[in-house]
């Protein structure tokens, strides 16, 4: 199985939890956002609870769980927003 390494940008509490601006996640090529979420929660359990309340952005827009992601995409975790 070919694997892709996806770099996931982090903000706010996610960045504090990771102590980093991003995390790298290995997923099988052609994986969806749902698979990325599953692997993130598995390999980074501290993120799991906030992850369920969060959105995933692909190329600076909200992405649904069936969106396929690849190493060329800019992926970010968007925890519940609190601007304003």
């Amino acid at each position: 199985m070919t694997m892709d390494e996806i770099t996931v940008r982090l903000f706010a509490r996610f960045r504090d939890l990771a102590g980093a601006e991003s995390v790298a996640v290995a997923v099988p090529s052609g994986s969806t956002v749902a698979e990325l979420r599953r692997r993130l929660a598995l390999h980074w359990p501290a993120s799991a609870e906030l992850l369920t309340a969060s959105a995933v952005a692909v190329n600076a827009d909200y992405a649904s769980d069936d969106r396929v992601v690849g190493p060329a995409d800019e992926v970010a975790l968007i925890p519940p927003v609190s601007g304003g």
């Binding site: 827009d61 927003v81 609190s82 601007g83």
Partner: protein, 142 residues
């Protein structure tokens, strides 16, 4: 016009910038840093954004507002960085021919901004604790 800025928001200039001869109504909303949340005392808020996405979402809100109301002009500006109590964190200014339209359009724009735009605040409480604000659905007073 949409913008993220680290400088203080000049709300008077922003209001002036959306005025149009065909518009008899201008509504400006300011969000300001409040000193109390429940019993907790805030000293400062730190705002951060995912800038390209935040600007893209703000631009979408501008397009949406223009499609729904006869907008003369609309401006959305959000400040980032450290803000003290009383500072302006966000400003939305809208001009329309009539006041009902302007109030509705402004309300819609700030409501959508708070739902959609990837910006986060961190509370700096008076006792020295800090805490990112990630509201659950039930914690979002409008």
């Amino acid at each position: 016009m949409v913008r993220l800025t680290r400088e203080p928001i000049d709300h008077a200039a922003l209001t002036e910038a959306v005025r149009r001869a065909g518009c008899g109504a201008v509504v400006t909303f300011l969000g300001t840093v409040r000193d109390l949340t429940g019993d907790e005392v805030t000293v400062a808020l730190d705002y951060e954004a995912y800038p390209p996405m935040a600007e893209a979402k703000m631009a979408e809100i501008e397009v949406d507002v223009r499609a729904r109301w006869p907008v003369g002009d609309v401006a959305l500006v959000h400040r980032l960085g450290r803000l003290e109590v009383g500072d302006i964190s966000v400003a939305v200014a809208v001009s329309c021919p009539h006041r009902g339209q302007a109030f509705e359009a402004c309300r819609h724009a700030i409501d959508r901004l708070k739902e959609l735009v990837p910006i986060w605040k961190r509370e700096n409480w008076a006792d020295g604790r800090t805490e990112w604000v990630h509201p659950t659905r039930t914690e979002q007073p409008s």
